[in-house]
């Protein structure tokens, strides 16, 4: 099996292609339950063969949005188009969409085969064709030997694959996955992630995945839609979301990050300087920011983009003195928590490049933190 299912020959980014037509269009969809706004004026465009992840904390509206796509919920306002057809009022049993439920929702009174054949029987296909497609699908999810088993005789991972097979065998235009890997243990989850991407690649089905697990979203998706309080905060590829967050919320939601509040003291098209109360030297960033001088901004620096040294840097910008407050050895890397003179704790991760580093920086040492001008992300909200 290919271990790198995400290595396409040419770049797959239809969202950057002005001629590409979106496959799924969510147009100003709002869903209210009583006074509670679960989904708040969301517009999204998803392209064919994408794995689009709706990422957010529980209660952010991502599952409601998925259920609207499936047809289980009617939006209070707004429209849904799939492959150019308005699906807003179409009931779930007439949508070319299938869902893999978080609980898997496998019919307990049917065997694995019967579960997978269920949707095809509804379509009224011939017995032979059903048998063929069920067998092919079970082989694809590596359950060929388990067709006659009852669901309660399967392990969690096997049930997950039955649920996937049952949804995929209908050849849906859109497959919706609600926390597809949440019920699996860590090892199985990683393995299944890659399997899922392989299957998606082979069948070319468009996936919309709901998850609260940012790691899962980062590995699986072509693009992520980060949701909070029913709104989409940012849409972008995993690296765009990680490296170019558009707000403090996004920066702090994905991975860990050190955010410093400061004022713009120099604002040029090619660089900015930010003066922060918690740092002695200003932060110099080698790109412009669309904000007025004197405005409050936040500079956010990822822990892996900060280096630690014992010598005081002679640069004018982008450094701060600190004391090692705590450290954790993780094997592949070490995590340092460093206390600035202001009392603020900064998180830094360093790869453990050498095996026997006797002079490794250790507790209570006075050190200097440095970063490159391109490392900080400046957000204005």
């Amino acid at each position: 099996m290919a271990t790198q299912p995400h290595a396409p020959q040419q770049k797959f980014e239809p969202w950057n292609d002005p001629d590409a037509t979106p496959y799924v269009r969510i147009e100003k969809v709002t869903k209210k339950f009583g006074d509670f706004i679960a989904v708040d004026d969301v517009s999204l465009e998803i392209y064919k063969k994408e794995i689009f992840c709706l990422l957010g904390a529980s209660g952010c509206g991502k599952t409601t949005l998925l259920r609207i796509l499936a047809g289980f919920e009617r939006p209070t306002s707004g429209r849904i188009f799939i492959d150019g057809i308005d699906m807003t009022a179409i009931p779930p049993y007439e949508r070319p969409v299938n869902m893999m439920f978080q609980s898997y929702a496998i019919f307990p009174h049917m065997s694995v085969e019967q579960n997978v054949a269920f949707g095809l029987k509804q379509e009224g296909l011939s017995k032979d064709e059903i048998a063929q497609r069920v067998a092919d699908m079970l082989n694809m999810v590596k359950l060929g030997q388990f067709g006659k088993r009852k669901p309660h005789q399967l392990s969690g991972g096997q049930r997950q694959r039955v649920a996937l097979a049952r949804a995929l065998v209908k050849k849906p235009k859109l497959l919706l996955l609600d926390e597809p890997l949440a019920a699996l243990d860590k090892k199985l989850r990683e393995h299944t992630q890659f399997e899922l991407m392989n299957i998606q690649d082979t069948l070319g089905v468009t996936f919309v995945v709901v998850t609260h697990d940012q790691e899962e979203a980062m590995t699986l998706s072509s693009r992520i839609g980060l949701m909070n309080h029913g709104e989409i905060i940012q849409t972008g590829t995993p690296s765009e979301i990680y490296e170019y967050p558009n707000s403090r919320f996004v920066a702090e939601f994905i991975g860990s990050i050190n955010t410093f509040e400061g004022k713009l003291i120099e604002d040029e098209p090619s660089y900015v300087r930010i003066q922060c109360d918690e740092l002695e030297a200003p932060i110099y960033v080698d790109h412009g920011v669309s904000s007025a001088p004197g405005a409050t901004v936040w500079a956010a620096i990822r822990p892996e983009k900060i280096t630690i040294s014992r010598e005081k840097p002679d640069a004018a910008d982008n450094w701060v003195a600190a004391v090692v407050h705590d450290m954790a050895y993780m094997g592949d890397m070490s995590i340092y928590l460093l206390r600035l003179d202001s009392g603020r704790i900064v998180r830094v991760t360093q790869p453990n490049t050498y095996r026997h580093a006797d002079d490794r920086i250790t507790w209570d040492e006075r050190v200097y933190l440095q970063w490159y001008p391109e490392s900080p992300v400046v957000v204005t909200k």
Binding site: P92, Y93, S103, H109, Q122, H152, R166, K170
Partner: protein
């Protein structure tokens, strides 16, 4: 000393499990053996009105006299066969009506708003707070020729003379379905209420219209509830005595009534016991089936 005691004294768990066994022994097995014994004896005019099975003849000879004639009598006289068959027919028809009425009621309650669900279930059980006999007598008041129903129909002019409803099969079925409906609804509700509703969403997602989802998912999954409810209605109705004798035609043959006649009118305890033993055998088969269905459900539930 203490460990010796601990080993000798039955452990708590043994004591707890002994309680139901003791109960069954005292109130089921021993009475059953007594009835079985009587069914093999012959009737005589005495106190008690049957001959003992064992008795000493002369010295050191214990004579066991088994009279199989009572069971032969049941086969010879077609009265008993007809009573059995009629009882089973009445029970089967009543069970079907209870199911047809009870399923929608149980379904509606199970799918109702959780806040009213308990109130609705309370209403189903509420009739049990009144004596069963009183409720059957109330039906006499409703159904008799100058009863509530006939008077109402006469007053609105639908009929111009009373319909004979009391002492008909209709009244018996009505009384039985009315009395036993809760026994159908309770197990069905318990089953339908715990059903995972995402299964219905999954069915809809895979192309089922609502009625297809019901037929392909809800109905098969509620089968254990249907079986439990049907047996809870069918088994007692086969032996039902009160409702047919109060509401039914005096000539209606029901095995419960035959039993009553044998015991109290004919004072033929051995034949009455034989009738009871045969009835029990008729019922053991459905009871065992019931047990198996319950086990199957419990087994499936464990793995779910």
């Amino acid at each position: 000393m203490r460990s010796w005691l601990a080993r000798r004294l039955p452990r708590g768990r043994t004591l707890v499990t002994a309680v139901p066994y003791l109960w069954l022994l005292v109130f089921f097995l021993i009475p059953f053996i007594i009835v079985l014994k009587i069914s093999f004896s012959s009737s005589q005019i005495a106190m008690p009105p049957y001959e003992p099975l064992l008795h000493w003849t002369g010295e050191k000879i214990l004579q066991i006299k088994l009279n199989l004639g009572n069971f032969a009598f049941l086969v010879e006289d077609d009265l008993y066969w007809r009573a059995y068959l009629n009882s089973i027919k009445v029970a089967a028809v009543s069970t079907v009506f209870c199911l047809l009425l009870g399923y929608p009621i149980a379904y509606a309650i199970a799918r109702s708003n959780p806040s009213v669900r308990n109130i609705l279930m309370l209403l189903i059980v509420l009739p049990f707070w009144t004596s069963f006999l009183l409720r059957v007598y109330a039906w006499i008041g409703i159904l008799k020729n100058n009863g509530l129903l006939n008077n109402f129909l006469l007053s609105i002019g639908v009929i111009d003379q009373p319909i004979q409803m009391l002492q008909t099969d209709f009244a018996v079925y009505l009384g039985i379905v009315y009395s036993y409906l809760p026994f159908m609804i309770l197990p069905l509700y318990a089953n339908l209420e715990k059903m995972d509703l995402t299964l219905l969403e999954a069915a809809a997602d895979l192309g089922c219209r609502p009625w297809q989802s019901f037929y392909k998912v809800t109905l098969p999954l509620s089968l254990p509830g249907i079986i439990a409810g049907c047996l809870l209605v069918f088994i007692p109705v086969v032996g039902e005595f009160v409702i047919p004798s109060l509401l039914g035609d005096p000539g209606m043959l029901m095995i419960g009534k035959v039993l009553w006649t044998e015991f109290f009118n004919n004072r033929d305890w051995p034949v009455a016991s034989a009738v009871a033993i045969a009835l029990l055998l008729f019922l053991v088969i459905p009871i065992m089936y019931f047990q198996r269905a319950q086990d199957a459900e419990a087994g499936a539930g464990l793995h779910r």
